[in-house]
Structure formats: structure tokens, C-alpha cells
Symmetry: C2
Subunit: 411 residues, 2 copies
């Protein structure tokens, strides 16, 4: 994408410098000057302000090249703590991350199940206080709280439009209730979008990359980060690769389209295929119950990795369908870096990586550039970590934060 | 997408104001203040500068609401002339547009055919001088020249990577030779990308729309404009919807993928299908020759519109495949406005619009927002007009111009 120009006075320049230190730190002022095209005095002014604000710190000296030694700058990992909450049917996960996206605390709680949303909000309030206490984090350290949920969102209302696993939550003004309960601004975002931003932030991926994440949870989602910002589209419903039609003669999906990827390649779909071959999977402890899809899928994935022929065949079939959709996704957005993440990548990620790399050998732009495919370091918590990263990006580099109502968080 | 903040001093603010005047003019200073979030004095400073530079003009008064009458601002359509050159195998089209994207002159020339590229560059030089003379445009009025070509490009080199119809041009440094020949900076871009930016610019589409164009020429391309800029991706090879695989068991495409949309729905593919039903198309004057695909397709499209059953069936079949790919495209980018353009939309555009609208009734975000589908006002010249718009955007609103080497044009 076009690199936009910024002047030293604009918030864009501050965000740019924070983001370059994040992705390339430790880095010297001279390198920042070269990378940004800003003047040396302008870089000095911004760096001084960021040091005063405690956003960045000086950290050692660059190897001498003969002249005056250059002091290196890095993100102050202690500048603040982001809280990410992944709200699901079965479980609810809290993570606290430092400003590098490193996890400093993690805690699992019971999920929403079928409880009324307002009751779950009260439980989140209770869990939040308990979590901060356990993690030794004081409220004043928290830069923001983000709740990540599956499915399409109404970003204006801060609520879930439609999540198959959380039907009672449709239309519930989640953000508003949580802000009252926690007495702090709250972001609500999609799990796949959050995971994409989290991987971008914590892996130190360059803002000049065109970066995509594939998120395999209950469903199949994705996100794109370009120019340092999440690609959002008209209503923040972009990059839903689970609803790419892979078979125009296929069954009708809940989304309205036919033959969607999720119908053939989500963990639930793979287990439906597995159920038809029960006899061949006798040695595995599979329940084939709707409510235990995640556990069954983990079991099947472990068996596939261990060399169980039928399990491997089933997972590979799903991985090939995801890989083909990833090729379309990669071609349309012209990506150069992809990370595979989400809970369902935890055990069988290497099969998905193999199939994705094979598919991308046919990428449209392969003569111009390669596309790297990597596995997440923390696929199960990626969405929660991403939520925390969103609050940090919004707070440290406001020019590139999420397009949501709250932009500054009181400290 | 996130609306980025700008300060009055940044080129971004100037670009923002020019773009708002373009899409919403005539517009008052007060409305600009409200729309941008900039302060009233900041807007006044920028507007004064733009008036001095002749980029915008004052044009009448807004209807009085009781207070001081508000003077309205509009783009100065005479601020400069952009030249777009569409270079094809059969034909080469020159257009000159004013700063509103209105066509002020148009001229067709012989295409590149099989002549050596360097010879064609000389012909372009000759045609350029002839065209300016015929159009009554002096060299000093020209804000820039853009050449639009089919196929993937090497944007660093300003050359064609691979165009099936122009094989001799692969690796030829087109931009460099043209800049020497015309003694002016030259942009080289993809026809579909140019057409997308051109439709965005000349239709007055808002920068807050997420806008996509489908371009049906020899192949099938697309472009996305969001936040006022073309979405480019890692190597400016994004949004190639012609290479969405619509049949994973399909034939291998020249791009490396299997069952690409172009293999079943390009004008050439539709004519291959037509050739198998020659007997039923006896009444139509079709040559079925490779070199006359465009003429044959126009004939078939006219017959389809006139109610010829088999012709309509063939075009509809192609249009349905394009519509399904457009649904994927629209879902991944979460578009809210789509324009159908390109030479092959000239006669049968209404069939494509009908099928596209039907497919988009299943769009993923349909509960959040509608997606409008419109036909181009000038489908045959859309790419050339878009090239001209690119030079104007780069010159008038440099913060949002194309990410290419030249940014300012001497006047």
C-alpha cells in the first residue's frame, strides 16, 4: 500500500515511530530517520516525548561504526498492561500482556454456556477483579480491556450480531454493559481480527508487510494487517474466509451463501466426516457429541500427527480445503506473510502449514515475491492476546488503533 | 477502515480536503470543518492555499440558514489535464480528462500488435504530440501521463511482467523509455486498478465508502479503493479476481492455479463455449477467430440483450460465474459499493448487473449494510480515464496518490 506521508507534528509520525521501534527495535535514532524519511530534529523531538511518556526506553549502544556511539531505543515493555478476554461457550480466557505482546498472566474460567448475558457480564466483572489480583496488576497499570468473541459484530453497538454458539447474545449491548461493570473503556472485537493484530504486534512483523492470519477455531476466520492497521472494510466484516464458497452446488450455509468453506473444513465438519468412518477410528476416544467438538478435534489432530492413517486423511482433507481458500485470500489481498493460528491449529498446525505452503506455490504473485507461512507460537490464546494487543496499539500508537469509539484510556 | 488523524500541517489534511471537495462539492468551509474534525482556522488556511494554487474555486452561495451566507467550494475542473493511455494489442486509446475526471478529448490509434516495444514507444511519442494538438492541450497543462496495460506489473521497474496478449513486452522497461520519449514523468499501472480509481474519482464516490470495481476486458480484473487510496497489497498484484479458483478440479491456468474464473468466464472462454453451439448461433455474424474475440463478444452480447436465447444463455452463464467470484471478493473486502466496468461490460452490462445483484443478496454482511451495484458510464475507456485520474490524484491530493516513484509533476 501507499506509504502515507506524515509531518513531525502529526499523530501519524508518533504512531509510525512507535510501530517501527516495536517491529525493528532495538533501533537507533539514525535508523529511525532513515526508515521514516522524517528529519533528524523531528525524530529527536518525537523520541524525547516518547521517552518522557515512558512508551520507549534507551537500551544499550549500537556497535560502533567509528563515529559517536548510537544509543538504541526499544519499547518499554512495562509501559502498560493490556487485558484480553476471549469469551466462548465452553471457556473464557483472560490474558494480560506487556507492551511487547508478551503474556504476563493467563487464567481460564467457565464459559458463557447458556446463562443470560447479563449474568455472564457480572461473572466477567468478578473474574476481572480476581484476575488482576492473581496477576499482581493494579487497575492503573491497565491500558485497556478488549473482549473477543466469535462471529460478525455490530461495531457501533459493541455487540454480537450472530454467533451460532452464543445465540442469546444477538443484539445484546455487550460493550456498554461491560464498560459499566468494569468502569473502564472496553473494546469488543472479532476473535480472528484480534488474533491477526496480535500476531502482527507480538511477532514484530513490519508495517511494510502485507500480513494475513488464518484463524481456526469453531469456525474459520482471518484478518489482514497492512500499513500497520487492520483491514476493516465497510462494516468490519471483512476477510471472513470461512464463507468463501468452495462448491457453488453445495449446501446452503447459515450465512446465506452456498458451499461455504466452513461447511466442509471447520473442526465440526471434519468430525461429521469422521463420524461416517467411526469403525476405522475405533482406537480413538471420540465422543462425536456436538458440545465436545473441540475436544474431539484435538484428539483427532493428535492421532493424525501420531500417524493414524484415517485421522491424518481426514485432517489433511480439511487442511487442503482451508489451503485452497487461503490461496484465494492471499491472491486477493496480495499477502507476503501468513500466520496460521487459533485453537484448532494447536495440535495439527504442521499439517495445515504443509498444505498451505503447497497451495501457495501457485500464488498469483509468486514471480514477484514469496509468501512465508508460519505457525503461531500461542494458537490457543491468540485471540485473547490479540485483544490485549488492540488496547495497546490504540493506546501507544493511536494513529493506527482500531476504528472503535474509545481512543484514549485514562491511566 | 480506521480514519486516520491528520493535523493542518500534514499533506494528509490537504489531500483530505481536496478529496472531500471532489466527492461532496460544492461544499462550504463549515461542512468541511464538520467532516474533517479539523479546526475552523486550519480549514481556512488549507482552503486559502488550495484557492491560491488554483486547485479549488469558489462557486456560489449555500442556501441561507439565517447567519452569514456560506460560500461554496468546488474542484477547479480546469486546474490541470490528466492524460491516460490504454495500451492494448488491437487498439491504443488516449484520453484527456479535467480534474473532475470528465473526458475532454479522446482518440483511438492502432494497438501494439506484434511490433517491437521500442518501436511502439516511438509511435506513442508521435501519437502523444498529435493528440495534444488535436485536443488543444498545451504541455504545461498536463499534470501527468499514465499508461495502463493488462496483466501483472513490476511496479519498481515500471514494466509488464506477463501479458498474454503482449508477450514481447515482458521485462521491457516501459516507464523509463516513455519518460525519455515524452520528457515527462509517466505512471504505468494495471488496467483494472486504474479503472477502479477512475470510477472512484469521476463518480464522486466518498472516501468513507469501501469501493470495488470489476473490470471485464480480455481478462477479468478488479480494484478496491478504501480510505481514498487504491488497495495495493505486497506487490500491487492484489484483487486479481480472474484468478479465483471456481473449480478446484478444473484445468491448470497460466497463473499456476487450477479452475480459475478466467478459464470459464472471460470473453474468450464464453466464445469457446459458443463455438461448441455454432449451429444454434447461425444467425449471428461470429468469426470464432482468436484475434477477434472482442468483436465476437460484442456481437454475442448485443444478441443476448436483443433476446437471442442461446446468446443470452451463454452470457448469463459467464455472468453468473463472475457474480459468484464477485460475492467472494465483496465478502473478503466487505465492500459497500461496486461498479461494473471494462469494454466487455459495454453491451451486456445489464445482464452482469442483474446476476451480481442476485448473488450479493447472499453477502455475508447483508444484515449490516447493503451493497450497491452500478454500471460504469464509460466502460470502454474506463482504464484510460482511470490512468488520467491517477495522475490527477497524485498531483492534487499527493497524500493519497499511487505508491509509485513520481510524486510531483512540474507544471
Amino acid at each position: 500500500m501507499a506509504r502515507r506521508e506524515s509531518t513531525p507534528e502529526s499523530p501519524g509520525s508518533r504512531a509510525l515511530i512507535v510501530d517501527l521501534v516495536r517491529s525493528s527495535g532495538p533501533i537507533s535514532r539514525v535508523e529511525l530517520t532513515q526508515a521514516t524519511g522524517l528529519t533528524q530534529p523531528a525524530v529527536s523531538v518525537i523520541v524525547r516525548k516518547l521517552l518522557d511518556d515512558g512508551v520507549i526506553v534507551e537500551k544499550g549502544l549500537a556497535p560502533s561504526t567509528g563515529g559517536k556511539p548510537r544509543r538504541l531505543l526499544d519499547i518499554n515493555s512495562r509501559a502498560g498492561i493490556g487485558i484480553g478476554i476471549q469469551l466462548g461457550f465452553d471457556t473464557m480466557t483472560f490474558v494480560a500482556t506487556d507492551t511487547n505482546g508478551g503474556v504476563v498472566a493467563r487464567q481460564g474460567f467457565w464459559g458463557a454456556q447458556t446463562a443470560p448475558p447479563i449474568e455472564v457480564v457480572q461473572r466477567i466483572g468478578h473474574a476481572y477483579r480476581q484476575f488482576l489480583e492473581l496477576a499482581g496488576v493494579t487497575v492503573t497499570d491497565v491500558t485497556g480491556v478488549a473482549v473477543v468473541v466469535p462471529g460478525p459484530l455490530d461495531h457501533d453497538q459493541g455487540g454480537i450480531v450472530e454467533a451460532p454458539t452464543l445465540p442469546a447474545w444477538t443484539g445484546f449491548p455487550l460493550r456498554q454493559h461491560l464498560e459499566e461493570m468494569l468502569a473502564t473503556p472496553v473494546l469488543v472485537d472479532n476473535d480472528a481480527s484480534a488474533a491477526a493484530l496480535g500476531e502482527f504486534w507480538s511477532r514484530g512483523i513490519s508495517r511494510y508487510s502485507t500480513f494475513g492470519a488464518i484463524y481456526l477455531g469453531t469456525g474459520i476466520g482471518a484478518g489482514v494487517v497492512t500499513d500497520g492497521s487492520l483491514y476493516r472494510g465497510a462494516s468490519s466484516n471483512a476477510t471472513e474466509i470461512g464463507h468463501i464458497s468452495v462448491d457453488s452446488a453445495g449446501a446452503e450455509c447459515a450465512c446465506g451463501n452456498y458451499g461455504c468453506l466452513e461447511l466442509v473444513a471447520s473442526p465440526g465438519a471434519i468430525l461429521r466426516a469422521a463420524a461416517t468412518r467411526r469403525d476405522e477410528l475405533g482406537g480413538l476416544s471420540l465422543s462425536f457429541e456436538q458440545s465436545l467438538v473441540q475436544f474431539d478435534y484435538d484428539t483427532l489432530a493428535l492421532a493424525a500427527i501420531a500417524g493414524h492413517g484415517v485421522a491424518e486423511e481426514l485432517i489433511t482433507q480439511g487442511a487442503r480445503a482451508v489451503a485452497r481458500a487461503t490461496l484465494t485470500f492471499c491472491n486477493l489481498f496480495d499477502l507476503d506473510e501468513i500466520v496460521l493460528t487459533g485453537p484448532a491449529m494447536a495440535n495439527a498446525g504442521s499439517i495445515y502449514a504443509r498444505e498451505t505452503r503447497a497451495a501457495l506455490e501457485r500464488s498469483f504473485a509468486r514471480r514477484s515475491h514469496a509468501v512465508s507461512v508460519d505457525l503461531s507460537a500461542n494458537p490457543r490464546d491468540a485471540a485473547a492476546i490479540g485483544g490485549a494487543a488492540m488496547t495497546l496499539q490504540g493506546s501507544l500508537a493511536p494513529g493506527h488503533g482500531p476504528a472503535l469509539a474509545f481512543t484514549t484510556v485514562s491511566r
